[in-house]
Symmetry: C2
Subunit: 724 residues, 2 copies
């Protein structure tokens, strides 16, 4: 064990560095990562040090330069330790001294938009990023510096820096929020390096004696600190469910993971007695598994809540996550295959362990299966159910509000095939770090469109979002899990209920992914029951992607397009065409990514069938002009929406051949729809039939059910069954 005086000790350790040096040249993945970083840093050193006076928002020059600097400092520090070349230490020292010189008289950042302004950056969040990285660099050159130099840096730079983002910015620091996690990690990591117990305690438990106004809100509309909790441990406690689901969803989890894990690694190394990786039954390691499972076949995270599409486990934060999870979480060989895909490892003990594992041929595929991830710190606030069946991935979201980055999308779902979106979750309305688009920040359409219920594949009552689109209300409630059963791979079922989104109205959605010989690929059966104490209009949108090939119903197409309505997200939808159901099955057959899909829905006579297009009231061209199909039931008290989505064929523009261009389904019908049971019958083109029954009130696994339908007795045990 290192003593408190030994350096490095935070992420690198004296023993670890010794091991690494011994293995160098003999561990391909590590050697390649080292070589890449060496090349990058040598080029930076050659181009000289720049520490500009802070001025810009993200995307601007000073922002990008300081961001680049902290990354470069961390890497240069590591290179010094591994390669023992003093030029790296000198570079780190020289740059830190420039920061010291500037920081000691630096005022608040001139840009005023943040609820918690930083000094180097426009918000404390970015300042915290800086310190998380730079504390690692400082640790690496600690012994290279004289005592006097250290004192200078600590007194004029690091301690005031840590104070600014904590005691001087409690609205940022003293919370349970991903911003605070960065703040806590920053303060804690520099505290560990400086061996400063006060900072370490402030990091772990929050600022002593400070509590915030519990009703105050941040820039994103989230409560600053409703429960009064703070500090790193509270930040682990609160947002992670026991399954490791992070309440804001995978996109922000990816962002938040780095400070969680890197500080945890530091704590593990310097304060092993805290057993940080065992905290809350090992939730940090579990969260990495959850996060990896929240990605599609290409490794892209499902864009739940405010998630930007395209973020994936190739992000560098996931290199950290995968390596730490492997090293500190039981050497799961599946993680090695992801590390191989990532093509790089951390330059520390965990990265060494991964590189050695890969080198020794221990990698196995990371096999993503169906999984239910409970939400809420107690795991009882709904969740996200992912059903995987061959290449089909169904993401059923019945999670809680998801903090300030949550969307009003109770019981919504999205559907993927082999990494491509079939029914999309729109994600956020933002172009992160693209300055042309509102400085790279959230666009106003994020609130007016992306967060609204109509932007999701779920029920909207009376054209009003769930919880009236109000965060205060939404964050009090969550749906209730009803079924998540994946035992039978031919019939995997997820079901949940939501009774608070619209007071007086209960929504119950049951989704089944079914494999059956009549179908080429697994089909997705969707049943939404809405029961209300009064009459309403119910809309169920379906955001397919691609181009319509054919419908089986008549509709009127409009040559003049108008928005569907003027608020709650509807103002962003053009109505392209409209049909009226004659009470029969309605089919939508479309082509996307050269695959043929069909959605077949049961409708009632008079249901409106609306073809919508996103992009109305979008003067800055901030939205994607994607299509949607909405089934609208007017003046209904109770309503049941049933549809089946099939992926059934393909097209090759090279051979110009269309294979299985049509649905395999002849009809679907509602056999029973009572308080107790809903039964759906599917008749296929090959004349095979399939009856799916779900018990609407009893989800016990042991109940014996006996239901007579059209003179035929159906008997089963448990909440649902399928009969052929």
């Amino acid at each position: 064990m290192s003593s408190a005086q030994d350096h490095p000790k935070l992420i690198l350790t004296k023993e670890g560095v010794k091991n690494i040096r011994e293995q160098l040249g003999n561990i391909p993945l590590f050697d390649a990562s080292l070589e890449e970083i060496k090349k990058e840093i040598d080029a930076e050193i050659a181009s000289g040090i720049e520490v500009p006076i802070p001025k810009d928002y993200s995307g601007g020059y000073t922002h990008d330069r300081h961001k680049r600097n902290f990354i470069v400092l961390q890497k240069a520090g590591v290179l010094y330790q591994i390669l023992e070349d003093e030029k790296y230490a000198k570079y780190v020292k020289d740059m830190l001294m420039e920061y010291e010189m500037m920081y000691k008289t630096l005022p608040l950042h001139p840009k005023t938009r943040s609820y918690a302004r930083g000094k180097l950056f426009w918000q404390c969040l970015n300042d915290s990023n800086w310190l998380v990285y730079v504390s690692q660099a400082y640790d690496c050159i600690y012994d290279y510096l004289s005592k006097k130099e250290r004192k200078k840096l600590e007194n004029n730079l690091f301690r005031p820096f840590a104070d600014h983002i904590s005691v001087d910015s409690p609205q940022f620091y003293q919370r349970v929020h991903n911003h605070s996690t960065w703040g806590n990690a920053a303060v804690g990591m520099i505290g560990l390096v400086m061996d400063d117990q006060e900072l370490i305690d402030r990091a772990l438990y929050g600022i002593k004696g400070v509590s915030l106004d519990k009703s105050a809100k941040d820039d994103d509309g989230g409560f600053l600190n409703k429960d009064g909790k703070a500090g790193f441990l509270a930040n682990i406690e609160e947002p992670f469910s026991p399954d490791g689901y992070y309440n804001e969803g995978p996109y922000y989890q990816r962002y938040a993971m780095y400070p969680f894990l890197i500080f945890a690694e530091g704590l593990h190394n310097v304060k092993p007695e805290l057993k940080i990786f065992e905290y809350k039954e090992g939730v940090l390691i579990k969260s990495i598994n959850a996060l990896l499972n929240l990605s599609d076949a290409d490794g892209d995270f499902f864009p739940l809540n405010d998630g930007q599409k395209g973020m994936s486990y190739y992000n560098s934060a996931l290199v950290t996550a995968v390596d730490i999870s492997y090293h500190f979480g039981g050497n799961n060989p599946g993680l090695l295959s992801i590390a191989e895909q990532q093509g790089k490892v951390l330059l520390d003990d965990s990265g060494l362990a991964v590189a050695l594992g890969v080198k020794n041929g221990k990698a196995k595929p990371f096999d993503k299966k169906s999984i239910n991830l409970s939400d809420g710190s107690d795991g009882k606030q709904g969740g996200v159910g992912i059903i995987r069946s061959d290449d089909i991935e169904l993401v059923f979201k019945y999670a809680s509000q998801g903090s300030s980055h949550g969307h009003y999308d109770k019981l919504s779902y999205s559907l993927y095939e082999d990494g491509d979106e079939v029914a999309q979750d729109y994600g956020l309305a933002r172009f992160v770090n693209i300055e042309q688009k509102g400085g790279g920040n959230y666009l106003k359409e994020n609130k007016t469109w992306a967060k609204q219920t109509i932007a999701h594949n779920t029920i909207i009552q009376d054209e009003t979002s769930h919880f009236k689109g109000t965060y205060d209300i939404g964050s009090q409630y969550y749906p209730e899990k009803y079924i998540f059963d994946i035992k039978n791979e031919d019939l995997q079922v997820a079901s949940a209920k939501e009774i608070n989104a619209y007071p007086g109205t209960e929504m119950h959605r049951t989704m089944a992914v079914i494999k059956y010989e009549a179908y080429i690929k697994p089909i997705v059966l969707d049943i939404v029951r809405v029961l209300s104490d009064s009459t309403h209009q119910y809309d169920l949108p379906f955001y397919y992607l691609g181009q319509i090939m054919k419908t089986n119903f008549e509709y009127e197409a409009f040559n003049t397009l108008k928005p569907l309505s003027d608020k709650n997200g509807y103002q962003h939808l053009y109505l392209e065409a409209k049909g009226i159901s004659k009470g029969e099955n309605v089919t939508l057959n479309w082509l996307s990514n050269n695959k043929f899909y069909t959605n077949t829905s049961i409708t009632s006579e008079g249901d409106e069938l609306l073809f919508a297009r996103i992009g109305a009231n979008d003067p800055e061209f901030n939205l994607r002009k994607d299509p949607g199909f909405i089934i609208r039931k007017k003046n209904a008290q109770n309503a049941t929406f049933v549809s089946v989505t099939e992926s059934h064929g393909s097209y090759s523009p090279v051979s110009e051949s269309a294979v299985n261009a049509y649905s395999a389904i002849k009809t679907i019908s509602l056999l029973v729809d009572t308080e107790n049971y809903t039964a759906i019958k599917i008749v296929n083109n090959d004349n095979s039939t399939l009856v799916f029954v779900v018990s609407n009130k009893d989800n016990s696994l042991n109940t014996n059910h006996n239901l007579s339908i059209l003179g035929k007795d159906y008997k089963w045990v448990g909440p649902f069954a399928k009969f052929n």
Copy 2:
């Protein structure tokens, strides 16, 4: 040399088969192709023979089955020859006998939509496809059959079949058209197998003594036979330019190539004295080189005229083309690398040669360079100029009408980067072989939208298409090449004039692809000069793809969308927003495929800046909802449009970093624009400048020019120059 009695002799030859058999197991690419085909055919044999009574249009069962049958027959015949396994011969024989049984009493196909109905298929074209393939199968089992069996097949099937598609269908056969090429090849190939000189002559020279009404038109609006020419040789003579450009463009060339080449191979084998591969200075081999050059970095053909996107040199017709071109065209090692990408070869002498070449490591990259392909049988009817510079590909189309599949798009262009479209050519409005979409045939939007001028990146006068959108007029004219100069890779220039599209108006477009240190990638300078004898409205659309990031001008966005107009394609464009120029540079900055682009245009005060969206008046959802940006000059007699398109940056959704998100150009201006000269000045953000001058009336390479601009003398030789 085989005697006329030896079989096989058509595509396979006795000697060739002997060689192949000797090499088997030792030629990976060939062995793999053979194995794949064997697997495919064995499965077909196992599933039994089906020869249904013809009934359906393309996409329907009987159509697809007969299409499958001819492919299977051809392959089974080849397998019999190579593997000497009688089961293949028996299978071919049995199926042919079923065809014989059916055909001898078969009436015209019941579907009536074609101008020339077939018997097995709804159109003679498909019947001809059948015979082109089946004649090869017949050749392979010729010696396996008894004389009596051969007589039966020839008298009841092959000869009446050949007669139906020729003497009984002169409107199909007796033309210069890709349809006729199939017909000629079909008749000729069965003639070669049967050693029937009458059929061979009919194939080569057309039906003796038959001439068609020269003013009659076919289904697509093309003249049936304006010049009275017919037969295979005329079909080589007419549509190919001396450079090998096929007048309908690469999509139809790909389709047409197979009968050209496979019949040529048969003629080469059976009638070597015809020297078919040397015909018209070896144009068939040249045409393959032209076709390969008409593809982007991914091998996808540029969708000129009625071209479906995604068609590429992975199409099986191109396997034929590449192999034949290699074997009969001088063993170009670049073709071997394409064969490697294709991953398969023909199972004949040419395929063997390719497989051996690849095996012996002779493959080299097929290096696509800038190339001008003249159009017209004499090479004097305009052309297509392709300028390649690093990853940028500019396709400048100044070709003639392109037969019945041509578009009214004189002087239009499309732009590609590394295989992705930057400024698109819309292509056709059709989903080939997707039955849901109009039976897989041309959709009405092909005429109302895709063919119209407004669907292309070129000038539209008074909202009317070139040549009034009239084929009779358009097919009389072609633009005149003015410059195609690619000697200096930093300044490649293409320029052409069009004086007939709008009588009284001359259009002159000059495009330059420029590499310069101020730019990260080559930029595309576009100058369009319009001179007229009266005032008009001129529109210049720019069909970028992707999402707008930023503009530098004010505009009004509309919440109600209406079509731009009611005809000539404008009825399919919604007007999304509109700005009015203040006479300054107008910039459009957008993101596509995670790359940043900027288009900067010189405008005049009052120019209208229209944001359009394709998809109005599209009740069947047949069109893609892609964007366009139109600069409109009203009440102008002469007008000069100048713009620069830059690809300058990139975005990574994984690292969330935007690199070089902005244009490198500060301003562009028109220094001179006279009868004799147009000079453009570009000032860059790094304050470097660039002046491009083009002589508008003298394209001689030797003329000395001397032009004084703002007191500075510019001297150069030849039609254009660049000054820094």
